[in-house]
Symmetry: C2
Subunit: 610 residues, 2 copies
DNA sequence: TAATTGTTTATAAACAACGAT
DNA sequence: AGATCGTTGTTTATAAACAAT
């Protein structure tokens, strides 16, 4: 019964359905297709070829901009800019409350040498598919410095508030509805204290939608010093996610340790006397993610992040979406376990990476306070400062001879064996916050401990996928619990809606894309619900932007890796995945130069730029 | 039935049983305890504090040297040198045949800048425990250049020769005893060709003792260009390890892919047209390991590497050991699956790391030809060249304030947040060849597909280790098949020998250390057999030698990592683990300066040194 | 539609090294 | 003083869920 899913469903990395722009509800701004609004500033990237940077005000419709770029790109050929970096700019109004902590010193940007700045440009989509959504926040990467102000108290309470009980009790199983024994978040609507928030079910036994990596970050970042012993991490997680204290098998601790060791993002420090080992987060990799930040992100976004009653509907009022969520009450009577880190809409979590240099600053960029202070892309409360390095001396983007798409990410195109530039971005996990997308874990009923009894076949089959013996596919897959009609799904649209195992979230996300197989496995059902938008042809290829291997011999002779500053550029359209920090919208078939929009030079925007 | 073990048993990283020096058989050299033989040269390390380098001729008894150092170190306090780098020197005679390929150009050491050289200093122990063993080989790390000569033909045949059938046939299951369809290794005693070597059992279905990582390296390094497509890797492994073609579940391919992605040692390259993806090995990380190299290492070492009849007893004649191996015929009738990469004796695989500089050369060091040619620590056939950099300008070992031991490796002591030296060694996998120790896989009988039925307990236990519900320990462990007396093992010695599931190898390795629990799981049994030598107190602490995180922002401001050149230093006493390349014998309680031995200065040995 | 190839996350395990009994 | 356990760390193996071709 307590057989939790092997891993949360992966619902990210899917390409953005830029194709279909159907229901297009006019939100705040009228999104003019084929024409980028004039409040969006377009400029060539100072160093990267065929790359343009768009400064998009929060009030603008990001989706329409992307649509326009897409359309323009298709019209033109492979010529012209084919990569775009989207940056959010705060137009002053919009959501005044910051996603993070208020106070953040933007001054003392830290070492301004040849740094590289990273920022997470998030576009939180609202209702269904490709609506007009304003940009909301940018969560920059830590610049090797402290994440700063650090929200200790806030960090946890947010999530705690959503739980029916706090996690402070140890061994009593059914200890539901407990009072908050700690500092309560004054912001949260917790009048008296009994039932903090009328959560849907047993928040107690709900497995959180966060990966171990994410939870560890939450835990460590909740401490002012950002250091935690293993035991403290255990305790923090148990306190904030009772699931682990109450229902998870003890093996979860093994997984925690495994994650700490595996991800080089987590570093172990030992006191001088060698008595205590603290786990920390590599400062350069620390995005300073905290539970409340993530939770607020989810709450702030239009769609209620999960079936869990979204009482905290501060500003945005999820219109029809919420209703639609309610419509799909989940099959047997269990809710989906995993809730998405970010709403499962077309919310954009666009990671951006910008080369930083002391002379380059993009002023009107807005950033959440907490995210700032690391000298990356920083912006105070209302202020906005973005620094962009013109071109890191020594490194040259090898645009020259990019040809194939070779996606599937994380690969590095080896240049000439002689070149071997220096590594700029260590590894993929470097920027991986661990806030995986997952969106409901589905470890509900189908306990099916292990898909592979496999005891019958002795000599077994070898190469040929004999269905009988071995699973046939080299990628093991969960056996479908109810095997009515596993294969041969519906042609496309037109099908039933209220199919079992379909979570409300799914419905909210893909309102008019019914899952094709009513008898689908939960995972399979979800797969159907993934943003399918016909053949996607955008944001696909990124030929010359390999990923970042981890290692780098510094002072040594031939620098092995040839990572460019742009490596790892990703436009993660699926929202929640914070794993990639770099943004690169690559339009394979772009032709002309400026897409017909006013092409502003960098010096226009950035006075400092000489 | 075909339920293979989750992972091969880990039999490495154990500390060397330097304590017990009991059976001490006089081998070639009389090992004088408490006195390092005069043919061993001792000198201070030019840059590392409290570090000495010992040049040990092959004819010398390494164990006695270590014993002496240990004893001396215990006598003295924490003062004086407490780290030692042991280097092998070829005294001319010994095994004339090289472990690797013959031709290797030692000249053109490649870029001599501020490089760091790595070498694997291997001491292959012979019979039982702590015998006197000559050093045999040094396998340096690739210097970012090509591994060179590359043994294409030899690479595979060695292992093929040991199989009853070649792997070229595809789907026929019982195709035993096939002729070699490829080039046969002329060196191997394969007269006519039918049964290449009278292997013990079904070599066909024997799972190889190599990790996926190692096998992938074998495969890729077997190609001259050192590139392979995924499919080619599959095929190579199937051809050379029929187990995967014949008995393994298709999931093994998933594991291959997983390993390729996970380990940054493996890099994917795509052709310019993006049509083909090749997998390569990061040149700096490529140890150029090939199957035949590894096999030869195992064969060359004194103890027969496995129950597989060691016909190839070229020179060394495993005296009593071989006999003892025969004594334990394996229980039911099946042999142990995993054979050790290197003999399961106290063979030392001491990885060494030396800063390289054009001016420093340690002449009389012997290295296996194949290992050379990368400008690291290189030595031609009989020649020997070792280069040691006096002190990489710019990096300073922070010996200063090391205090605690904080072992458990792979941790980095963060220096002052301001310092942040450059990364020298990317990550732990950087040097991990994947040639894990494992030593018999034991996936034989006990099919026990999954140790966790776990279906009964619904609400289950939480924190308290209620034996009933959850496994109690946070580290899952295989349930003991026959649960007679799980805990409270025998006091120590004195027990039965011919217990089921005990492989001959084990017996050979730990002749007089009977496994304590006759009803042990195979794995448990093995655990008992691991070189236990009482409380080890040597080679434990390495305070200021943190590990190497993977990432490194190069041209950027505050270099995050503070890895010193010595980071990752490890004395791997368990032999086969090639995962660590650096050697550091750290004696916690050392006192005086030169241990009473003649302390030779570097300039004495290295004339070039000014 | 289905298979192949890649990337990640989750779990289980096997050890190693310590620390507390 | 040694043996036993439990905790903490490190790795490898497998299964999976997706993504992209
Ligand atoms: Mg780590
Ligand atoms: Mg890789």
């Amino acid at each position: 019964m307590d057989e939790s899913p092997r891993r949360p469903l992966i619902l990210r990395k899917r390409k953005l359905p830029l194709e279909k722009k159907e229901v297009r509800v006019s939100y705040d701004e009228p999104d003019r297709l084929q024409c980028i609004p004039e409040n969006v500033r377009v400029m060539d990237h100072p160093s990267m070829p065929d790359t343009q940077v768009l400064i998009i005000p929060k009030t603008a419709d990001l989706q329409s901009v992307i649509d326009t770029l897409t359309a323009k790109g298709k019209e033109r050929g492979p010529e012209g800019p084919n990569k775009f970096i989207l940056l959010s700019r705060n137009s002053s109004e919009d959501k005044p409350e910051s996603l993070c902590q208020p106070s953040l010193d933007i001054r003392n940007p830290g070492p301004l040498s040849t740094q590289v700045g990273y920022g997470l440009l998030e576009k939180s989509g609202t209702d269904c598919q490709e609506k007009a959504k304003p940009l909301t926040a940018i969560k920059p990467l830590n610049k090797g410095l402290d994440c700063n102000p650090l929200d200790d108290s806030l960090t946890n309470i947010q999530w705690l508030g959503r739980m029916s009980t706090d996690g402070l009790e140890s061994n009593s199983v059914q200890k539901v509805y407990k009072k908050e024994s700690r500092e309560l978040n004054p912001k949260l609507p917790q009048p008296t204290g009994e039932v903090v928030l009328p959560t849907t079910k047993d928040q107690l036994s709900e497995r959180p939608p966060y990966s171990y990596m994410a939870m560890i970050q939450f835990a460590i970042n909740s401490k002012k010093n950002r250091k935690m012993t293993l035991k403290e991490i255990y305790t923090w997680i148990e306190d904030h996610f009772p699931y682990f204290r109450n229902v998870a098998k003890p093996g979860w601790k093994n997984s925690i340790r495994h994650n700490l060791s595996l991800h080089d993002m987590f570093i172990r420090e030992t006191t001088n006397d060698g008595k205590i080992s603290y786990w920390t987060i590599r400062p350069e990799a620390n995005r300073c993610l905290t539970l409340d930040q993530v939770y607020r992100m989810a709450v702030d976004s239009t769609v209620s992040p999960s079936p869990l009653a979204p009482q905290v509907s501060e500003q945005q009022q999820k219109k029809q979406i919420t209703a639609e969520v309610k419509k799909v009450p989940a099959v047997g009577g269990f809710e989906r376990k995993m809730k998405p880190l970010l709403p499962r809409t077309n919310s954009l979590l666009v990671p951006v990476q910008l080369p930083l240099a002391p002379s380059l600053f993009l002023s009107p960029i807005n950033l959440p306070p907490a995210a700032i202070q690391h000298s990356c892309i920083s912006a105070p409360g209302g202020g906005k400062i973005l620094r962009i390095a013109p071109k890191t001396p020594g490194e040259q983007v090898s645009h020259p001879k990019r040809e194939a798409s070779s996606s599937r990410r994380k690969q590095r195109l080896v240049l000439a064996p002689s070149e071997e530039p220096l590594v700029l971005f260590p590894d993929s996990t470097f920027f991986d916050s661990g806030l995986a997308s997952d969106l409901s874990s589905f470890h509900d009923i189908k306990d099916e401990p292990h898909p592979e009894p496999d005891s019958p076949g002795k000599e077994c089959t070898f190469k040929t996928p004999v269905k009988g013996a071995h699973p046939a596919s080299s990628t093991p897959s969960k056996p479908v619990p109810t095997p009515p009609s596993p294969r041969k799904a519906m042609p496309l649209g037109s099908e039933d809606h209220g199919l079992p195992d379909v979570s409300p979230i799914q419905a909210a996300i893909t309102p008019r894309r019914p899952s094709r197989d009513p008898l689908n496995t939960s995972s399979a059902a979800f797969k159907e619900l993934s943003f399918y938008s016909g053949p996607y042809d955008l944001l696909n290829t990124m030929p010359d932007f390999p990923t970042s291997p981890k290692a780098q011999v510094s002072g040594t002779g031939p620098a092995p890796a040839n990572r460019s500053i742009t490596e790892g550029l990703v436009l993660d359209t699926t929202n929640d995945s914070l794993s990639k920090i770099l943004v690169d919208i690559d339009f394979p078939g772009l032709d002309s130069e400026d897409l017909g929009i006013g092409n502003i030079s960098w010096s226009q925007i950035i006075p400092d730029l000489k």
